[in-house]
Chain length 362, copies 2
C-alpha cells in the first residue's frame, strides 16, 4: 500500500498561498493568463475569479466567435494583439504577456490545445476531465514535460477548505482508520442539444462531467489508487442519452481495504455528496461539489467542518501561479488527470464487458 | 414492469391491527406460539414482545439445553408437557395449545425445522434470512403449502411505522418518481467463535445477516424485483472472515429504471440507513434497522417522518396472528424470503464469477 505525498504537497502550496512571505518571487509579479474557450464557465466563473486572484491577471483570449471577442475585449480591456482564434492560436508563443494558457474547451479538444499551448512554450492549465482517454493524457503530459513547463488540472475542490479539512480528518485518522466511502454527483441535464451529450465532444456522459468529482474525492480522501472496479449503467431515456451514459453506479476497492460505493447521473438532481465511515465515526460533505454552499457534517458534536466560502477558481489559479513563480511542482497535475481517466476507463470497460476489472497502471 | 400489491396487502393487515373491530375472530382468542431456539433474540426480543401482543401467547419452547428449559419454564410458567428438545420436537403435533411455531435457529437449520413444523400441522414463522439458499426456500414453501398452513418470515421492519411511511412516500410518489436508492447495514462483529462466522451454520456473512435488511428495503420501497446485480467483496481480515463475507458493496437495477447502491459489513460500525432520491426530493432513515431509535428525514421541511416507537416483534407476531385468525394471506411470507435469497445468490455469484449477473426467477 502506497500513499502518495498528496497532503504534504498540497499543504505546502496552500501554506504559501495564505502566508504573505514568498521570497523567491519578484514582488508584485502577476502571471498573465490566456483563456481558451469563452463558454459559460469562462464567463461566469473563471474571468471573475481571475480578477480576484493575487498572482494572476487575464491577458489574452482565444475564441472562434468574433462577437464574443468583441464583448470580452470591451469588458476586460484586452487589446486586439491579445485576441486569438483557433487558426491564429499558435502565435500566442510570441506574446510575452501570456505565461499560462487555460484550456476551457469541450473535453475532446483538451489534448490538441494542451499540446499546442505547450509547444507555444507556455504553462498549461486544463479543465477536468483532463481528456477523453488515458492515452490522450499521456501524450499531454509528455508534451508539457518536453516543453519544460507546468501542467495543472482544474480540480478546484482540492483547494476548497471543507474538502481539505476532510482530507485531513481522513489522513490523520481523527475518526480512526477509514473503512468505507460513499460519493455521488449528478444533476438532471437540460438542453438535449448541448455538447455534453455528444460522445465525440464530451467523451462520455455524467461520469466524465460530474462523476469524476466523486471519483476524485475517494482518491484524495484515501490518498490511494483504486485497484478493482465493478460498475453498472442504468438508462431510462435512450433517446436523450443515445451517445453517453445517464446513470452509473460503481464499487471500487483500495489497497488498504477501504471499499467505496459511487454514483453519477444526468437523470435527476439530489446527489452531491461524499461520506466517510471510519472506525470511530463518520463525516462528510453534502452538498459537496458546488461552487458555494458546501456543508460539512460529522458524527461528533465537538468536530465541525465549517469554513468561510472561498472562490475555488481563484484559489486554484493562485496556487498554480505560486508553483510557477516559486518553481515548485504543482498538484493536481497531469498525473492526477491521468489517474482519473484510468479509473473512468475501467468503469466504462466494466460496464461494456459486464465484469469486474482492474484499473490499468499509468 | 410489475409492481406487487405489497402496500395494499400490508395496509389491510395493519389496518386490522390498529382498529379494534375484527368480526371473523373468536373474541379474546390468543394463538399459542412455540419458540424454537432460545438464544439471545428469543430471550431479549421475542419473549418480551410475545408478552405484549394482543393475539399471541408463549405456549411452548424447544431447546437442546436443559438449563435453558428450566429457566424458561420458571420465568414463563411453561408446563413440562410444553417443553421439547430437538429429538422430541415432532410430538408438538399433538399439542393443541401450539398454533404457531417460530423458528429462531441458526440459518442452516431453518429448512429442516420449518418443514418439520409444517408436518406437525402448525403455522410457521421463521426468522430472516429464510434459509441458506433459494432451493431450500422453495422446499420450505412447498412443505407449508402442502400442510395447508401459513408461513411468515420475520421481516420486522415491514411493520415499523417509519419504514411503512417511507414505503408510502415512495409508492405514492410524494417526492415524484423514485430514481435512486442507497441502503446499507453493517456492524463490527465481536466474538470470532460465534455461529454467524461459520458458513455451514450461517450460510454466509454480513450479507445474509444484515445486508438482507438493505436489500429488503430497496425491494419494499420500489415494490419491484431487482433484475441485474454487480457486486464487489472486500476482505481486510482473512482469518476472522475465512468462511464468510466481511464487506460487500453492490449495485442493482430495477425494471422501472431505479438504480440502487447497497453495502453490508461485519467489519465496522456506522452504516445503518437507506436513502431514496426522487424527482423532486429525498427522504430516508438513519438509523433505519435498529429495534428502536429509528430516525427519518426528508428534503422538505413540511414532510416529517416521525412516529412513536413500536415493538417490531410484537407488531409482526400480531399481524401474523391476525392473518391466521381471519384466514387472510400473510405478507411477508415465503415468497418474500425466496426473493431475497435469489438476490443474495446473485450477489454471491457476481462476486464469485467477477461479473454482472441476472437475478434468477422464483
Amino acid at each position: 500500500m502506497q500513499r502518495r505525498p498528496f497532503l504534504a504537497t498540497l499543504g505546502a502550496t496552500a501554506a504559501a498561498l495564505t502566508t504573505g512571505a514568498r521570497a523567491q518571487e519578484p514582488a508584485g509579479k502577476k502571471l498573465g493568463w490566456a483563456l481558451v474557450g469563452l463558454g459559460s464557465l469562462s464567463t461566469n466563473q473563471i474571468a471573475p475569479a481571475l480578477a480576484k486572484t493575487k498572482h494572476c491577471k487575464l491577458s489574452a483570449i482565444v475564441t472562434g466567435t468574433p462577437a464574443k471577442a468583441e464583448a470580452w475585449k470591451k469588458q476586460h480591456g484586452i487589446p486586439d494583439s491579445h485576441v486569438y482564434n483557433y487558426e491564429t492560436f499558435d502565435r500566442i508563443a510570441d506574446n510575452p504577456d501570456v505565461d499560462v494558457i487555460y484550456i476551457v474547451l469541450p473535453n475532446s479538444m483538451h489534448e490538441e490545445y494542451v499540446i499546442r499551448a505547450a509547444k507555444a512554450g507556455k504553462h498549461v492549465f486544463c479543465e477536468k476531465p483532463m481528456a477523453n482517454s488515458a492515452e490522450e493524457c499521456r501524450r499531454m503530459i509528455a508534451a508539457v514535460k518536453a516543453a519544460g513547463k507546468q501542467l495543472g488540472i482544474g480540480y478546484r475542490c482540492q483547494f476548497e477548505p471543507h474538502h481539505r479539512e476532510c482530507i485531513r480528518l481522513a489522513r490523520e485518522k481523527v475518526f480512526g482508520p477509514l473503512k468505507f466511502l460513499e460519493a455521488g454527483f449528478g444533476f438532471q441535464i437540460g438542453d438535449p442539444t448541448q455538447w455534453r451529450l455528444r460522445k465525440n465532444l464530451a467523451g462520455g456522459g455524467a461520469l466524465m462531467d460530474v462523476g469524476i468529482y466523486a471519483l476524485q474525492a475517494c482518491r484524495y480522501l484515501t490518498g490511494e489508487e483504486p485497484v478493482e472496479i465493478v460498475a453498472q449503467e442504468t438508462k431510462t431515456d435512450p433517446v436523450k442519452f443515445a451517445e453517453v451514459d445517464e446513470t452509473i453506479t460503481w464499487s471500487m476497492k483500495f489497497p488498504s481495504g477501504v471499499a467505496a460505493s459511487l454514483m453519477t447521473t444526468y437523470g435527476f438532481n439530489g446527489k452531491n455528496f461524499f461520506s466517510a465511515t471510519c472506525q470511530r465515526g463518520r463525516f462528510g460533505l453534502d452538498p459537496a461539489f458546488n461552487y458555494d454552499g458546501i456543508k460539512g457534517w460529522t458524527s461528533r458534536p465537538d468536530v465541525k467542518i465549517q469554513f468561510p466560502a472561498v472562490d475555488h477558481f481563484q484559489a486554484e489559479m493562485d496556487a498554480f501561479a505560486d508553483a510557477i513563480l516559486n518553481n515548485k511542482p504543482f498538484t493536481p497535475g497531469g498525473e492526477e488527470g491521468l489517474r482519473d481517466l484510468l479509473a473512468i476507463e475501467a468503469i466504462y470497460r466494466s460496464i461494456r464487458e459486464g465484469k469486474a476489472v482492474k484499473v490499468e497502471a499509468p
